[in-house]
Amino acid sequence: MRLVVVGNGMAGARLVSEVRARDRDVKITVFGAEAWQPYNRVLLSNVVAGTSRPDQVRLLGPRWHAEHNVTAHLGVEVTAIDRDARTVVAADGTREPYDVLVLATGSEPVIPAIPGVERATAFRTLDDCDRIREAATSARSAVVIGGGLLGIEAARGLAGRGVPVTLLHVRDHLMERQLDAEAGLILRETLGSLGVAIRTGVTVTAVRERHVELAGEELVDADLVVVACGVRPVVGLARDAGLEVERGVVVDDELRTDDPSIFAIGECAQHAGRVYGLVAPAWEQASVLADLLTGADKGARYRGSRLVTRLKAKSVELAAMGETHLTDEEAEIVRFSHRHKGTYRKLVIRDGRLVGAILLGETSAVGTLTQLFDRGGPLPGDRTGLLFPGVGAAATADNPTRMPDSARVCQCNNVTKGQIRACWESGARDVEAVAAATRATTGCGGCRDAVEGIVGWLCEQEGVSA
């Protein structure tokens, strides 16, 4: 089988490595429009923030393709699909025949059509990151347009570099797709305290030399402008080839387009009416498709993904998942809000299952909640522990004087407080004597303080009664 993959981003690269892991022999050719080895787009905000170097976000080592017998055309854009000849045509004239073609062309940033927008930088690729980092070294001010996940990460990263930054958002609150208004407000206050100025409900009308212009002709200073207004699927190649395209390339549960030889995965694909913009679904799709293409699991099917959004911004803990916008009429809502401390927790429950959640400011429950959300597991009748992990757990290190006599003081030698008391009553007045008689403290030694406390307390009691 000759497999051709168009796209060397997170979906395409993942598919290639998953196929190779299952099958050493299938002939694989991959085209990537960027000249880089595939890298982890999820980590780009770390690059902007300066906590990761560009070479630390590589997904595959520099020699991976050669070592795994994969032909890689990097920096080469595919311009056409000849479905009759089952061949792809690249910008450099390469014609590559295929038996199976996988489109993983991803998405491209949405750039609003406003005057001067060419002065702005998108936030999508390593090259974009390079431009942002370079500009940040000399910029006295920056503006980020777009208050979604990526915009917030970019703004936080720039603020962390010491650049005064203003985040402009057209909607009334930040991350409105994932957050309700209250969470959006608390997030805004948290970011504000970290040096990100935020304006919501504003429309940018132009990007100028040293500022951006808002509706109403207000000006905001900006030596550097980053645009993070969302992405749209790259579907030109598929559309030109006559494949069925709506918002994305339409695929079925086998990730197959309406041409049985052509598949699509990742952000360019549309499954069951949904186009996903996160990596987890893309990797689930890559895994299913690798199973199907190699025959490792012919029954593999993609059934859609549950989405968990985690903001990656230093000192901002935020997780959001599922249907966070349901109302009290539609679902059981459990909510705890503590605006002063910057924390907000919300559970959305339907039929005893978690269908959505927001955790902001404090995320110690996030592991439990994401797993309950992912698996649709049943929730406990009392929801308190889900919002406040550890509440209701047994208290440890109880005061020895208040322990019941049956309490085990020495785990290693199974000695109770009652036995220590009995030992004291027959004359033992220090830890050594208690140890000799009961073996308490002779194992791990961890109960020494407790035994000392009990003996001391008993001695004290004796003094009182005498």
Binding site: N40, V366, G367, Q411, T442
Partner: protein
């Protein structure tokens, strides 16, 4: 204390049962091998052994009870009837000869144990290869240390549990313990962690349960069962991203870092959080604790290792340790916390299907030639590698598999995965011979039971979790009727026509073991009983240095990796690994993870400790730990009898309801028949370790009907 150099221990007793001189010896149980004196059945801890330094747990204090237990067997049994030793050995040897004649040498199998002394482990391997000429030998250590062994052999070229003295732990600034509950499995070990913490050091514990050990920790990462590998990759990702990689060390002492670094790029913390359930903030904190410590250690236990991906999980933790620059640096490092009493020595001297004494590979021609010369046989006559433990048990009594089994120091009816099936395989044998000192569940099935001496009734060496070779001296006279394993092997060998090759005296066997191990990875040739006694233990490798007498004997090797690793180029090898889900994940029918482990009062299959009254009082029966949320949902109250089911069987247990376990997981201890009826025998492709630590299960309350039926 005077050391007798002519007898293996100061000998005692003119009258059976009345020992008159106390012996400096070691505990019969775990790999800590606590030092103790035994005199007249009284036990006192030794201060001179660093592992326990005067401490003992309840198992240690009560160990002598089994010396006089009424459940002790002292007469050989043939099909359940008492017979003389002559009858038992004649019958066994006759059947072995007949089965071998009819079906070939591989029709006879041998199964050993990680509790046997070095001398017995060595002799058992030799007996299989020389007296029986079978390739079919393996041991229960395969269920214990094999994943860590495979991983560190790959990384460091040498598998020594802790490649540093245990006292280094107390001097560290941070310890990460992945999947180990030392507060229950080897309580005096905690003294070293306490010493570390009292100096300001920090302890991080990874465990799906808030165990006694996790309660001691500064940070507890309560990961989903079966996700330790993802967690290790996430920690490594963070270590690299936050600048904790020791690039100078990596360049000087390792190979493969670039590929490992690229491979963990895919395991960013938020992704790992979703897989493991461990919050990102806790992962970052764990890395900060390790990365900022001057001296740090990463230790793994069975919780991380007993998986069908155990080798890769340990590899990921080793990669983390190497990235932080820990191994081979004094006071820092990676170590595996060995479980069984002689888990370390037992894996070095030829009980393993693929190995010869000295940790040599059985398919290496030079190793075969060396060992064959010591044994006085033709290298061509030595069999090749055989089946691994579970594969061996699984093949018993099948058309292609062995028809006879000799079993020493193990109780697979309780301890093997998918134990119900293993019991069927044992029952299908033409001949099952079990050597033990109590009638274990497996011995109760045997055609022939050979009553052995135990622990304090014989001498031998044990290699503890540090790789320190210790002398376990005889401290009591054996009851009449019991024979040592070495004498039993000698008696069988004699009947098989090679008795002269199988002496029964431990010191003679040890001296031969020294020659057989000479030049191997685990080189014991410079170690003598006298040196062990004088130095309270000697660390291997310890070659016999016969050159330059003024140089003195080799001192042993407390820290083998300080200058170089035991690989051909002296560098540690970093190998990229990837996470994968458990072999059997939860689903609608079996919605819970089942994991297993130990309780303080019992050891292994419980064959010994369940026969000690005071231990049985503490932990009298099998239980299942259930989170209150789960208990509420299933209408289970504390103390209820519940049934736990998996695709392989069902077991009943008493419910213990507490919040120390994850709500999606239940825990059962493995010291009773029960949990291993449920466990999954999916094997690690490299170590052949079964997936003891996670399978899918369902739980329900037993109804009144069940109770009546059981009654």
């Amino acid at each position: 204390m005077p050391i007798s150099l002519h007898a293996p221990g100061p000998v005692m007793s003119q009258v059976h049962g009345d020992t008159t001189v106390g012996s400096a010896t070691h505990c019969p149980y775990c790999a800590l091998q606590c030092g103790m004196y035994v005199a007249n059945g009284e036990i006192t801890p030794r201060e001179d052994i660093p592992a326990n330094a005067g401490g003992l747990c309840q198992k240690g204090w009560t160990a002598a009870e089994l010396l006089t237990s009424p459940e002790r067997i002292t007469t050989p049994l043939l099909h359940g009837k008492p017979v003389t030793w002559e009858e038992a050995l004649d019958y066994t040897a006759g059947r072995l000869r007949a089965i071998r004649a009819e079906h070939g040498p591989d029709a006879v199998a041998v199964f050993g144990g990680g509790g046997l002394t070095n001398e017995k482990a060595y002799q058992l391997g030799k007996f299989a290869r020389v007296a029986l000429r079978t390739s079919q030998i393996d041991y229960n250590g395969r269920f214990c240390m094999s994943s860590a062994a495979a991983a560190v052999n790959r990384a460091f070229g040498m598998d020594r549990g802790l490649p540093f003295p245990i006292t280094d732990i107390g001097r560290a600034d941070a310890v990460l313990l992945a999947g180990g509950n030392v507060a229950e499995t080897m309580p005096p070990f905690v003294r070293h962690l306490t010493a570390m913490r009292s100096r300001g050091g920090r302890l991080v514990v990874i465990d799906p349960r808030l165990t006694q050990t996790a309660r001691l920790a500064d940070l507890h990462l309560q990961a989903t069962p079966g996700t330790d590998l993802a967690l290790a990759l996430g920690l490594l990702h963070i270590a690299v991203a936050e600048g904790h990689a020791d690039l100078g060390y990596l360049a000087a002492r390792t190979t493969g870092f670039e590929a490992v670094r690229a491979s963990v790029s895919a395991w960013w913390p938020e992704r790992v959080e979703r897989v493991t359930g461990v919050p990102v903030a806790q992962m970052r904190e764990a890395v900060r604790i390790l990365g900022e410590a001057g001296r740090a250690m990463i230790l793994t236990g069975r919780g991380a290792e007993q998986h069908a991906k155990g080798t890769d999980t340990v590899t990921a933790f080793v990669n983390l340790a190497l990235t932080l620059g820990l191994p081979g640096r004094e006071g820092s490092g990676y170590g595996c916390v060995t479980g069984q009493g002689n888990g370390q020595g037992g894996r070095e001297h030829g009980q393993k299907a693929d190995q010869l004494p000295g940790y040599r590979k059985i398919d290496d021609p030079a190793a075969r030639a060396h060992v064959a010369a010591v044994w006085g046989v033709d290298p061509a006559d030595l069999p090749g590698p055989g089946r691994s433990a579970y594969e061996l048990l699984d093949a018993l009594g099948t058309p292609e598999g062995p028809r006879a089994l000799l079993l020493f120091g193990s109780n697979p009816v309780v301890s093997a995965p998918r134990a119900g099936h293993v019991t069927e395989r044992l029952a299908a044998l033409d001949l099952l011979v079990v050597a033990d000192f109590v009638l274990s569940e497996t011995a109760a099935m045997a055609d022939v039971v050979l009553p052995t001496t135990q622990w304090a009734e014989e001498s031998g060496t044990m290699t503890n979790l540090e790789g320190r070779v210790l002398l376990r001296r005889q401290a009591a006279a054996p009851p009449p009727g019991a024979r040592s394993d070495l004498r039993i092997l000698g008696g069988l060998a004699e009947r098989l026509g090679c008795g002269e090759k199988f002496p029964a005296d431990p010191r003679t066997v040890f001296d031969e073991l020294r020659r057989a191990s000479a030049g191997g990875i685990a080189d014991y040739s410079g170690i003598t009983y006298e040196r062990i006694a004088a130095e309270t233990g000697v660390f291997w490798p310890c070659p016999a240095t016969e050159t330059a007498p003024e140089a003195g004997p080799h001192p042993g090797t407390p820290r083998p990796f300080l200058d170089r690793f035991a690989t051909p180029d002296g560098r540690a090898r970093m190998v990229p690994v990837d996470h994968r889900p458990p072999a059997e994940d939860v689903d609608e029918e079996f919605p819970l993870y089942l994991t297993s482990g130990r309780v303080l009062a019992h050891y292994q299959s419980g064959a010994q400790t369940r026969r000690i009254r005071s231990l049985n009082q503490v932990a009298p029966e099998v239980f299942v730990e259930v989170h209150p949320d789960l208990a509420e949902r299933l209408n289970v109250a504390p103390g209820d009898r519940v049934r736990v089911r998996s695709r392989r069987g069902a077991a009943e247990a008493v419910a213990r309801v507490n919040a120390s376990i994850r709500p999606d997981t239940v825990f059962m201890p493995f010291h009773w028949e029960g949990v291993n009826l449920l466990t999954n025998p999916a094997l690690d492709p490299m170590s052949r370790m079964p997936e003891f630590k996670v399978c899918a299960a369902a739980l329900e309350r037993c109804t009144g009907e069940d109770m009546e039926r059981d009654a």
